[in-house]
Symmetry: C2
Subunit: 366 residues, 2 copies
């Protein structure tokens, strides 16, 4: 925690503001290790000045918030509204850096009554490089996900519904001490052509594609994995699509390892590799084989949020750095037929990458 | 759906804008009945003009979005960015009403490049009056919650942990075809003095308070219920606190029924009752008996969100209306000792209220 706050104070110094207002729940979890505040409504703010770190919340959280080390609690109530709190702090703090991508317009108007503001864009990337503890938590979340995949293979049977399998995945993960990252996506047959399909009551039939996309939350950190298996004997059409997706993924992995070794065939230095180039390598392989382009990014950073920086998309400006953890998940989707997606999490190290999810990737026929 | 869009078009007319931009996920669910968009990042917008209803989303959702009746799909991609979409629409739409309490400052800046904007505050209350279908879904969610309470009573045993009970609640609800509204709050002994306690590995011991707060999501609609039971023989201190909370809740219910009947002892007309007066009646009963005031609102509207208008708080400006559904949940919390909260959902009808959760409220000793 100390290190994180130190980095924030450095950011504060560079910004020319007197304080930083942290409003986004993931950044609050990151800085306080407390994950009890709602994502659905505003229940807390942090204000970091050179001298003090304030945690502002209401009576429902006061008892627990008073125990969070490194922060001074300011309790709001119907007598001490957030407006009064801001007004008081505004006497000492003139200019405050805010998260413009998180604050709502209404909140911003309120804050502007009491402070000058600056948009601290860097806060979006506050968590982009993971430390050892974070990597440990993500690895544990990946291990549970791998076990869940192994478990769910045994539940894939004729007549089972998408919802039932999704439930079983969640059940297994929770029994294993984790939580689910998002409602597991289970998609049979042509449903698998919808990248973010909502699991339905559709029943599994012979010769169906089975796409499974789920993640685990462990100790506030997420994993994310996708595998696509075949219920029956895989035909050539499926095999060709599957192989194209798998190779697209392998090319991305290979590319990262190459630039890590500063391979002469790539005229880039490892430290300056744009993550969009990774997207391009993988996406290009798919379109070159006559399939539609991936209708989503090749991947996304992951940590306290399922999707966080870096973004592996054609327009991304992020640069590859050791300590980043992200997904690589190419997919081919044919409306009316179905889709294949293969997703793994990787950790970027000094000269290469480490794959964090280990479920098998050869074609599985059940 | 038709009716909802009609109401929106009326709102549009009144607003003097050319279009309405709907960004909040709950309002998108309300208007499209599609609940697949993420709450954690922006994946869709609706734009409602006099002539057209647009649904703007990306390729991951394009196939499913094309099937949503009443909306014309605009698909974003790396070629057709959200900026280009806004720029194009900006040629026809001059002024657009937005949800300032939902849009982030960054999004707002982007929108302001292409449109004049107006803050449509009424959109916050778009869902405040429930129709018959919505009430039906909430009632079903309440029924499952009541069954879950009955089920969980049988799992309360010496040595069981808070997390285990929370898991069992979730398990039961999902087996019953619902989903959980939020991680169930299970709090033993002094943990129950933290209104939003995160269930821990604490084990149940003799003479412990057991506070259970959970909800069910069914067909996109939520329920919410809290009961506090005693593991062992309840002592006088607990009994006194429990009775005070229960009476505080009954007084609120009684008050609503009285104003519904335009009772002469209350100098208000039913149609102009402020919900803050309900809060006051209940809160006053608790403080009058020497206990600390409720550190949260007396209750909250519920529907597509667990917390939505109206707010039953001392500063609320909402007026009681038939069709509202909200919680009434007084509580007494004594740090170091524990807490008692009793929460039910109620539906406001023309002349009275209907209680939607039916779990027993006499003191339960296990």
């Amino acid at each position: 925690m100390e290190d994180k706050i130190k980095r924030l104070k450095l950011l504060l110094k560079e910004s020319g503001s007197d304080a930083i207002l942290i409003s986004s729940v993931p950044n609050i979890i990151y800085l306080t290790s407390y994950s009890g505040f709602s994502y659905f409504e505003r229940e807390a703010f942090l204000i970091i000045t050179n001298k003090e770190n304030y945690l502002i919340t209401d009576g429902r959280y006061a008892e627990i918030a008073a125990d969070i080390p490194g922060f001074k609690l300011i309790e709001t109530s119907s007598e001490n509204t957030i407006d009064s709190v801001f007004e008081n702090l505004g006497k000492k703090i003139k200019k405050i850096g805010v998260e413009e991508n998180d604050l709502s317009v209404s909140e911003y108007r309120k804050i502007r009554k009491y402070f000058k503001t600056a948009n601290l864009k860097n806060l979006q990337n506050l968590r982009i490089i993971k430390n050892d503890n974070e990597i440990k938590a993500i690895k544990k979340a990946c291990r549970i996900a791998d076990m869940a995949f192994d478990y769910i293979l045994r539940k894939i049977k004729k007549g089972v519904t998408e919802k039932e399998l999704a439930f079983e995945i969640g059940f297994f993960i929770k029994r294993g001490g984790g939580d689910i990252s998002f409602p597991p996506i289970v998609a049979f047959s042509k449903n698998s052509s919808i990248p973010h399909h909502q699991s339905s009551n559709r029943k599994l039939k012979a010769d169906n594609i089975v796409l499974l996309d789920f993640g685990v939350k462990f100790d506030n950190y997420y994993s994310d994995i996708t595998r696509t298996v075949f219920f029956g004997k895989a035909d050539d059409k499926f095999r060709k699509i599957y192989q194209t997706v798998l190779t697209a993924q392998q090319k991305a992995i290979h590319y990262i390892n190459l630039v890590g070794r500063r391979h002469p065939t790539y005229e880039v230095r490892a430290r300056e590799t744009r993550v969009r180039d990774i997207d391009e390598v993988s996406r290009g392989h798919i379109t070159k084989h006559g399939y539609p382009t991936i209708p989503h990014s090749l991947g996304h950073g992951i940590g306290i949020e399922v999707h966080e920086p870096p973004r592996l998309s054609p327009k991304s400006k992020d640069i590859l750095r050791p300590g980043m953890v992200f997904s690589i998940e190419p997919g081919i989707y044919i409306p009316g037929y179905g889709g294949v997606r293969i997703e793994d999490l990787v950790l970027i190290k000094e000269n290469k990458l480490e794959i964090l999810t280990h479920s098998p990737k050869e074609i599985i026929e059940i």
